[in-house]
């Protein structure tokens, strides 16, 4: 098995790409990389396009190597990745919708983000065109006796994001679920192009509001890699503090939400209280409940409040006091366990194939956590465990969150104990850049690893930015997980994934 670095060496290395290598390769090497993905040697981290090229970020999990291979597409075509490696199918459909680059040999040629409403086709490509008059979208078929379809969405019954789910069921049992997403497509990558760093940071922080810290951090780290700037230590530690607080808030919300979808409102009420306490503490420590616009390239917009550290310590104590009883409650309530255990199973093989991150991957035996695997600062200096389970059901995804809450509480304390002093911001050296630079970052959000890739032009503006939400690699797994479950368990399964619509739709 060849190392990832050998493939990179075969191509024309792009010098100004940091911290991992990027190489422009020919179609043959591209196909070879696709083979390696299909055979399960490497994992697909991201696949994205620009006007006349496609890029693929690869991970060699065995040795922890990351690299990007790029293929120029002068004919607006590239050899399909999805044809041999299904996790790439939706990414390719999105590339065609946005840039007009055709994945040659692709099995699914339907549009994905484009619903025929934009007034133009290939909005980010070299030649945007007028849309076809009659736009239609065919759902996949399911054939057999006594099947019926249940179309759901884009507007759902609760306060959640929009998306369409097409169920085919026999009686109560789901035979096929097909997702249709793209309703919240805002054209973020288009808005990023030509944006100043300030504006681009705001956009990155609003790609998926629940992960605003993680997104801003991923974007900032990518920009900092491109500029080769060292961020002050205090900022690095405070960023991790915010990231863990964000994880706590979301995990509490999710655990409560999952139990609520199994009609166990008591857990929902108590987890809701803990979540609110976290958000209120975030507000007084960092000045914003969700901590939006706090992480910026170069460091932080503001330091932690004077009494922020004390408030966070009080918060950790409160959670430590209240949460164990809730965990016991979850564990001992058989009617609740009856709903979560054995429901919505993702097999370890599928999680590995899709390189599913976060609790989805870790509940199905995929031990990948960007904080551990890459050890970006300050995580290399923190003591924490990465929980992993093999069952892959709703219950396992709840337990991963429970253990991650315990780990995050410990990390919050460790960070507060060792928080360095000094400045929280250093200016980027924007003078005399003279050439385009590229940076990339992988950051562990609460949902999984978020990838940010950025090219900064000579004018210090964003020339191209791609943000890959963990949901891209998790959404397809719900379709597999729900098969042979009952329709009534879909909300439960869906909440246990809690994929992002906005982060996926961009």
């Amino acid at each position: 098995m060849p190392a990832l670095i050998d493939v990179i060496l075969e191509g024309r290395r792009v010098d100004a790409h940091r911290p991992w290598p990027r190489a422009v390769v020919d179609a043959e090497v591209w196909r070879f990389a696709v083979d390696q993905l299909a055979e399960g040697h490497w994992s697909l981290l991201a696949l994205w396009g620009e006007t006349a090229a496609v890029h693929m970020a690869l991970l060699d999990e065995g040795v922890g190597d990351i690299g990007v291979v790029s293929l120029e597409c002068p004919d607006n075509k590239f050899p399909s990745v999805g044809q041999r490696h299904p996790p790439a199918i939706r990414l390719e459909r999105a590339i065609r919708d946005l840039f007009g680059l055709e994945p040659e040999g692709a099995t699914d040629t339907r549009p994905w983000l484009d619903h025929g409403h934009w007034g133009l086709r290939y909005p980010l490509g070299s030649k945007p065109t007028v849309p076809a008059e009659n736009f239609s979208y065919d759902f996949l078929t399911a054939e057999g006796e006594s099947l019926h379809q249940i179309p759901v969405g884009p507007v759902h019954a609760g306060t959640i994001e929009p998306g369409h789910f097409r169920f085919t069921a026999t009686g109560e049992t789901v035979v096929r679920l097909e997702e249709r997403l793209g309703y919240t497509h805002k054209g973020i990558e288009g808005l990023m192009t030509g944006a100043s760093l300030d504006r681009a940071t705001k956009l990155a922080g609003r790609t998926s509001g629940d992960s605003t810290v993680a997104y801003a951090l991923a974007f900032a780290r990518a920009v900092e890699a491109a500029f080769g700037v060292e961020v002050p230590q205090r900022a690095i530690w405070l960023r991790a503090l915010m990231a863990e607080v964000e994880r706590l808030a979301n995990h509490f919300g999710d655990i409560g939400g999952i139990c609520n979808d199994a009609a166990f409102a008591l857990m929902h009420a108590h987890c809701g209280i803990l979540r609110e306490l976290v958000l209120r503490t975030a507000d007084s420590a960092f000045g914003h409940r969700l901590m939006m616009d706090r992480v910026i390239p170069g460091g932080l917009a503001t330091d932690i409040a004077m009494d922020g550290a004390d408030q966070l310590r009080v918060l950790v104590e409160k959670i430590r006091h209240r949460f164990p009883a809730l965990v016991t409650l979850y564990d001992n309530t058989t009617s609740l366990q009856d709903r979560t255990v054995g429901t919505g199973i993702v097999t370890p093989a599928l999680a590995r194939k899709f390189a599913a991150g976060g609790y989805v991957g870790r509940a199905s035996g995929r031990l990948f956590d960007a904080r551990r695997a890459l050890g970006y600062a300050p995580y290399g200096e923190l003591t924490f465990e990465v929980p992993v389970r093999e069952e892959g059901d709703v219950d396992a995804r709840v337990w991963i969150r429970i253990h991650e809450i315990e780990q995050s509480l410990s990390m919050v304390e460790q960070i507060l104990d060792r928080l360095p002093g000094g400045a929280v911001y250093t200016a980027l050296n924007t003078k005399g850049l003279g050439t385009a630079r590229e940076g990339m970052a992988l950051v562990e959000g609460f949902r999984g690893d978020i990838l940010a890739w950025v090219r900064i032009g000579e004018d210090n503006k964003v020339a191209r930015c791609h943000l890959r939400d963990p949901s891209w690699l998790q959404w397809p797994l719900i379709e597999a997980a729900i098969e042979d479950n009952i329709v009534a368990d879909f909300p439960l399964c869906n909440k246990s994934f809690n994929c992002s619509y906005s982060g996926h739709d961009l």
């Binding site: 409403h117 007034g119 909005p123 306060t159 309703y183 979540r275 609110e276």
Partner: protein, 177 residues
């Protein structure tokens, strides 16, 4: 479970107190919503929420209205699953072109009289997503808006204050006609 339930019975509720007014913003709002709603809407306001392309930040804060601290249902304000049961359409996000039709159809499905509340900076004018090929703009580009609640995202208290403002607005409008 019994221990937790028992503790809940003994301990004071976390729900922030309603009257007397002035104490906290929430308590102040509680009394006012009560009076105005009683007059106009039989002490009840049914809300249908639609995410027209939001980043999900506003949804998180709308969710928070249901937690024990804000407990919005004690004011007679509740979220309903069907637009047919709603008095108010609460819209978040810049309206994306892909969501324009779904938003318009949800609005049409709400029986009259109905009011539209646009929540968040994006719902006002598209926010930082304005000008994109995929975005229509603010909510008022698609359906008539009665009230904007600014913020990115607005806090649960801000949203509650906004809903109160809507009630006052309705009182004035109906009184004038």
């Amino acid at each position: 479970m019994r221990k937790i339930l028992l503790e809940c019975l003994i301990q004071p509720p976390v729900t922030e107190p309603a009257p007397p007014a002035d104490e906290s913003a929430l308590a102040e709002l509680a009394g006012q919503v009560d009076t105005a709603a009683r007059g106009r809407l039989g002490r009840s306001l049914a809300i249908r929420h639609v995410d027209a392309g939001s980043c999900n930040g506003c949804e998180l804060e709308i969710h928070a209205l249901n937690n024990s601290f804000y407990d919005i249902e004690r004011f007679g304000i509740r979220f309903v699953a069907s637009p047919r049961h709603a008095d108010v359409l609460l819209v978040t996000g810049p309206v994306t072109k892909n969501m324009r039709e779904a938003l318009a159809r949800t609005y049409d499905a709400i029986p009259n009289p109905k009011w539209v509340v646009a929540v968040g900076g994006c719902a006002l004018d598209g926010g930082c997503f304005a000008g994109s090929y995929a975005v229509v703009g603010g909510v008022s580009e698609v359906v008539p808006v009665d009230l904007h609640i600014p913020g990115c995202p607005p806090s649960p208290t801000d949203i509650l204050k906004g809903l109160l403002a809507l009630l006052q607005h309705l009182t004035t409008k109906m009184g004038a006609s």
